[in-house]
């Protein structure tokens, strides 16, 4: 029995090394990256990457590299800063923006709502769009940070949208 003890210990250690070294996929799925630039901070999924942003008032953009079509990720989140030349408050800016947003466009409103995020009110609009031949679903969350109004625009293909909800929530809930 005593002679076998080292062998048993070695075998146990070997198994521990194997288990700890190889079975880590679930952990990785929960990992996230941090974005800190331009006065904003948020977390985004580990498998996503930074993207160039070409949108009006664009501050940052992240996307899933696995969904890139023609250089554009179909699953992405873009942070935009509202150009508040009229000094609107958040609600007014939000309402003004969507006053004519869906008129004679390829966009279809799905839902609107508001919620509290980090003790501050946030407004959201969910809509679909079929621009550039791909039917996508968008979720635009409007919130105020300091004196600025930001919009977090999350988008994904309609069929992928529900699966990406957790990733969108990660960005929205960690936005500072």
């Amino acid at each position: 029995m005593n002679r076998n003890l080292p062998i048993i210990l070695m075998a146990t250690l070997f198994m521990v090394v194997l288990v700890s070294g190889c079975i880590t996929n679930d952990e990785k799925a929960n990992q996230s990256n941090n974005y800190t630039k331009g006065g904003v901070f948020f977390q985004y999924p580990h498998s996503w990457g930074l993207a160039k942003v070409n949108s009006t008032g664009g501050v940052a953009a992240v996307g899933d590299p696995q969904t890139v079509v023609n250089g554009k990720p179909t699953t992405s989140v873009v942070i935009q800063k509202y150009n508040n030349t009229n000094y609107y408050n958040l609600q007014t800016a939000y309402e003004q923006n969507y006053a004519k947003f869906f008129n004679n466009t390829g966009k279809t409103k799905v839902s609107v709502g508001n919620f509290t995020l980090n003790n501050a009110k946030a407004y959201e609009t969910v809509y679909t769009s079929s621009e550039s031949g791909i039917k996508k679903k968008y979720r635009a969350v409007w919130l105020q940070k300091g004196g600025n109004i930001y919009v977090i625009l999350c988008s994904a293909k309609v069929e992928d949208y529900d699966a990406q909800k957790a990733n969108f929530d990660l960005v929205i809930n960690t936005f500072r």
């Binding site: 160039k52 070409n54 004679n104």
Partner: protein, 206 residues
Amino acid sequence: MLKIVSDRKKLELKFEELERDYTQGNISKKEYFAQKRDLGRDMETLNAAERVRRMQGRMGSEKTLDHWSEQEDESKKLAEEAEKEEMLKKYITNPNSIKGREIPTREWFGKRAKISLVAFIVLALVVGTSMGFLFINKPSEVSSVSMLVNDSAFPPVANNTTTITPTNYTRTVDYTPTTTTNTPTPEPEPEPPKPTPTPSPCGTAG
């Protein structure tokens, strides 16, 4: 026979000497018992040899038949013992003969096992760390795929400028379409001013 007797005496002397040394404290207890054991063994061997010789009749004397039969049994027994003793001497190693050699002890095995265990742990650590580094996904701060996002939460603002150049003047029309689907129709081009006919100074009356 004489040799056996002298050997016995020698052994007895050695015994006495040993007892004396031990009493005087010249030798350790351990050594005393070891030597005593050796001497005892020699003495037993001697006794056995003596019995064998007696059995062979060299030391014989006139006895009764019963005596001889008993003695025969005894001699048989002694012969067996002697044989056994010889076998023991032949095949059982004397502890003194292996005194200088290092016998692998349980402790030695333990040391080797400990060294192996430590080596294995170190190896496992190195292998585990290497595998971890090999399989871990580095945080993709910069995406390996170049991506461009141009989605916007704001309505599109387009500032298109159409320039219309009539014959004699230029008119610029600025418009901002509210939708991308409607094609704005430019205003009809104004007719250029008609040139006023100038009367001929040397007109002929018709």
